[in-house]
Amino acid sequence: MSALLTVERLGITYTRGGGERRAAHDVSFTIDAGETVALVGESGSGKTAIALALLRLLPRTATIAAESRIGFDGADVLALGDDAMRALRGRRIAMVFQEPATSLNPRLRVADQVAEVAAAHGERDARAARRLAMGMFERVGLGDPRMARAYPHELSGGQKQRVVIAMALLLDPALVVADEPTSALDVTVQAQVLEVLRERQRANGMALLLVTHDLAVAATTCGRALVMHEGRVVEDAPMPRLLSAPQSVAARSLVGALPCAGSAA
């Protein structure tokens, strides 16, 4: 079975002011359909850049190296035209961002923002789109009927993040990229949101790429881990093996920092 996502020799460089900063070096990995993979590393290790590159959402100041290739379901992502890329985004690959507080448009109702995903990909009937959104809300634990008219500022951080997850999952994408989805939340809420992600992943069978600096979060959710350090992938191992026998220096320090080292979920 060929891989769902193939990343080959991905290099990303940021230009700022006069200088350049290499965020990612020669990164290669694959993800199969239905796999749950964690992209772990400290801040600045390049994880977010890679996540953004998969949807081609990098800012203007970033350039992707010429030799890089990203293959998704047979298509060459980096070579796609704008329209084709837009058709992919939200429909086949979706993203969950880190900051729920700023990820939602403060002026639109949350239900409308979620329904917009369906509308953007061909659903002409506004009411049908809304029904789809409300159904998704139920499945992520936002079943309260008041959600239909709520604005982002009326929701808690955890609720906002569930909205973002609902947005990402609405059209049943094959791959969900979650960039630090719980870092901005309280610890108790973190666990809840992660549970929502896990549950939807099990139900839909989608692939999940979880980007995080917190190995504990990765350990409870993913079956495989890619460890990044200073822009390179230094280790690629199934989760149990990583936790019990980390090979690289970076992995070892991450594992060592775990509260209860060795006891994975």
């Binding site: 900051e99 990820s103 939602l104 448009n105 403060p106 917009e116 953007a120 990909h121 604005y151 500022h153």
Partner: protein
């Protein structure tokens, strides 16, 4: 609703302050200006006596001030020496014409400015955008009277599309039917309103472009793109409404300048509105009229900014309207 009331209250205070300022300024001038107006031999004794009694020139200053406020509240703005009629009458004719001009210029200019600012932000960095941006700055730099001259030279004199001045064609207007008369006014409105719109658009586009550029890097714009929305939808549905909020708030700062610009344009196009009235009054030392004009404009500005604030708040879901 309570926000609206509070804002209205603030506006009222500002209006009173404006009137006070006008009163103070007039009386700061060397010599009391009003007696000078009284010395004008063209005034009849009856009018002079009435004015004297009304404004109590021999009374202490504070009492004059109170009379002044009281008169204004009653709608009595004094006597226009130059026109030999109550100021209120002179204004009553001119004010609607100014409102027509300003409203048209404001709406057209804001629409144009927002469109231009949005386009500039979306096409940022491209050669076309830099050129257009430079053009916008040039229009912003040119004093209104020069713009007016340019418009007249091009559209009225060279191309002869529109008339050069006035509000109606003096010769034919009365003979026309209702539709004809309206068209006549509109034809005369075109150039002054277009000039005002240009001035407004230049300022608004600057503000709006800056607001859009501040909004576009925000996270929720990135979310919108990640959802697969077309760039057009991202800009129009997500970026624009949020940028407009900032512009509406800043619009309050624009309104006083708008009045000033409108006044100059009126003078230039001989549009018989408040601006022209005021200029002529100033040059003719018709102080009551000038003061009334200043207070009225200040009142309109205060009202306008209050309305702009309330509208901005009404459209912002995060604003606590009942705070």
């Amino acid at each position: 609703m309570r926000f609206a009331l509070r804002r209205a209250g603030q506006a009222a205070i500002v209006i009173v302050a404006v009137a006070t300022l006008a009163f103070v300024l007039i009386h700061l001038a060397p010599g009391d200006p009003f007696p000078t107006a009284l010395d004008d031999p063209s005034l009849t004794d009856a009018v002079r006596a009435r004015l004297r009694a009304q404004f109590g020139f021999d009374r202490p200053l504070f009492e004059q001030y109170l009379r002044f406020l009281w008169n204004y509240l009653r709608g009595d703005f004094g006597w226009s020496v130059a026109r030999n009629m109550p100021v209120a009458t002179a204004i009553a004719d001119a004010l609607p014409r100014t409102v027509l001009l300003m409203a048209t210029g404001l709406v057209a200019g804001t629409a144009g400015g927002v469109a231009l600012g949005t386009w500039q932000a979306a096409r940022r960095g491209s050669g076309a955008e830099r050129l257009v941006g430079l053009g916008a700055v040039v229009v912003y730099a040119v004093p209104e009277f020069l713009l007016a001259m340019g418009m007249i030279a091009l559209f009225a004199l060279r191309l002869r599309w529109f008339p050069m001045s006035g509000i109606v064609d003096a010769r034919s207007h009365d003979a026309l039917g209702a539709a004809g008369r309206a068209a006549d006014v509109l034809r005369h409105l075109a150039l002054p309103a277009a000039t005002l719109a240009l001035v407004v658009a230049a300022s608004v586009s600057r503000y709006h472009r800056a607001a859009m550029l501040a909004v576009l890097p925000e996270d929720y714009i990135r979310t919108a793109r990640a959802k697969g929305l077309s760039e057009r939808d991202v800009v129009l549905r997500h970026a624009l409404p949020n940028a407009m909020g900032a512009v509406l708030a800043l619009g309050g700062l624009l309104i006083p300048a708008l009045f000033g610009g409108a006044a100059v344009i009126e003078k230039f196009f001989d549009w018989p509105g408040m601006g022209r009235l005021m200029f002529n009054a100033a040059l003719g030392r018709d102080y009551h009229l000038v003061v009334a004009g200043v207070v009225l404009s200040g009142a309109l500005v205060a009202a306008g900014t209050a309305i702009a604030d309330v509208v901005a708040a009404a459209f912002d879901p995060a604003q606590e309207l009942d705070a």
